[in-house]
Symmetry: C2
Subunit: 322 residues, 2 copies
């Protein structure tokens, strides 16, 4: 945490969970002289303004980005291209445009054609979030001790990358720089596939409800009510992940399709092998696999990525995200 102003003016495009947290963190740490916000949704604009998320709120994207040294696009990734096109005429020469999307290859591809050569495009992705959405979910500490991954193009301006790194570090994040394609493969296994699986199992459980015809004990049908009631047995963690923003995740899966399908293919092979071991009573195979996975957890704890935030119901201190 510094208290050094890095930009005179920062513009935030989209004030959901990540955008509003970026705005709040920028202000809390004195990293910009002015934080200008924009959102396409009038209701979201009103709510964010009432919450005091930024210094100013604009209904016109041009007013938000004008004179901004840094523009942070915090919309669902599917909207990045259109946002870049809308901002283009108003971007200040020498300014930096970044984003916060969970997919980087597709964002780079969508935004690049709309960014003039006198503006520096440096895509980014904070590996932080909660299952809550909207400006009410934002908080200034969201990025503390979390990774912010930057995926600058090969020919990126190094001074622009360094300034972007500074603002992330100023809000407590650890910055890593990597290739966009590599980012997308890493996140496919660490974030996208876990979300896909969590969404699936919650849907599977939900569909059990439709089979209810009589009292649950009469015909041995499992109902959603029962699933929820006994969710402490493991299911609960999945419901939390599966409560994340639907638009954001739709875009992630559509835009990181190849890497997600590859990881899903690997997962399916492994699940089929485990299914076969259960069917054939192969206890040795099950034991071997369950012992091996313990080591990974140890690694997560040693890397200090295990739960450090309090895990609460009211949303201001979750520790999961994309």
């Amino acid at each position: 945490m510094s208290d050094v102003q890095i930009f005179d003016r920062v513009a935030i495009i989209g004030v959901g969970l990540i955008g509003s947290s970026f705005a709040l963190a920028t202000r809390a740490n004195g990293l910009a002289g002015h934080v200008a916000c924009y959102d396409a949704d009038a209701d979201v604009r009103d709510r964010a303004e009432n919450l005091g998320v930024g210094d100013s709120m604009h209904a016109d994207i041009a007013d938000a980005v004008r004179d901004a040294g840094l523009v942070v696009v915090a919309t669902p990734v599917g909207a990045c291209g259109a946002v870049a096109a809308a901002m283009r005429p108003h971007l200040q020469p020498g300014s930096i445009v970044t984003d916060v999307g969970s997919v980087k290859g597709a964002v780079l591809k969508a935004m690049t054609p709309h960014i003039p050569e006198w503006v520096h495009l440096v895509p980014g992705h904070p590996v932080a979030g909660t299952e809550h959405s909207g400006p009410e979910a934002g908080f200034a500490e969201l990025f503390q001790n979390r990774f912010a991954i930057l995926t600058p193009p090969a020919d990126a301006n190094q001074d622009a990358v360094a300034r972007l790194e500074s603002i992330w570090r100023g809000m407590g994040a650890d910055v890593e720089v990597m290739d966009a394609e590599y980012h997308d493969r890493v996140l496919a296994i660490t974030s996208h596939l876990p979300h896909l699986i969590a969404y699936t199992i919650v849907a599977t459980a939900s569909d059990l409800e439709t089979e209810l015809e009589a009292g649950p004990c009469d015909d041995n049908v499992v109902t959603t009510r029962e699933v929820i009631k006994y969710s402490a047995g493991g299911f609960r963690d999945f419901t939390r992940i599966a409560a994340s923003d639907p638009v954001m995740w739709r875009d992630v899966f559509l835009l990181n399709k190849d890497a997600v399908l590859e990881m899903l293919g690997r997962f399916n092979e492994d699940l089929t092998a485990l299914q076969r071991a259960i069917r054939h009573d192969d206890g040795a195979a099950l034991f071997e696999l369950f012992s091996r996975t313990r080591d990974i957890r140890r690694g997560v704890i040693e890397a200090r990525q295990a739960g450090r935030f309090q895990y609460t119901e009211n949303g201001k201190s979750g520790d999961d995200g994309a």
Copy 2:
């Protein structure tokens, strides 16, 4: 929480996470005059004794169960039958034998032949736990506000069921009574399938490591190191579940095979449909499903089964379990 002694003597067979927590909770709430412990493993016995888990520790199961009004079998479910056989000659007339396993049909089948008719068998399952194992992981508050499910046989002695309910309530648990087969179906979807999937995805990620041949960025291979590093994106929650006791879980999958394979079949159908939606860029289908799963999370929160315990690294206050 009461402070009423319900049994003169309680015997705990197996002092891992659940057994030691049951012993500690019994003593903390004054629910028994004496808590006698047994474990087949000499090292575990020593550790539990040093931790002061029970009032006495026995190397011979006969010494532990003699004169006990309640015997709690807290071994992996695969051992329940053998434990029942070993205890049989030493069980006190009118005493209650229960267990804490995540599978109930198989336990009932394995134990029933070894329980004399003058002893009351009332299988049970507390839906509580952490990913940690062994007597060091136990704590007296583990069952507070968690469900303890009892699955008495149809002809069970109602007084015995009522006394067992009392001791669970005395340690803060909510008691539910249901049919063993129904229990096994509910837990297959709320606990067993989530664990199976978590184990699988952690193994899938682990296997990516073996593909490492050069530096990660050279050939775009994702390494386990990267998976751990960026695990905050969703993967972390799975590693926690997949760190649970391997012997316990091997037994659960082997002994609840039919229900697990049925739920796994449903899950696979749903995952295949989602995979197909991604491959065919069907954003509407993805959005519909991701919106639907949010409602289930809302239900979990309303049922007060969302994270109420602090989620820490050191193991005394996890909130997940089987």
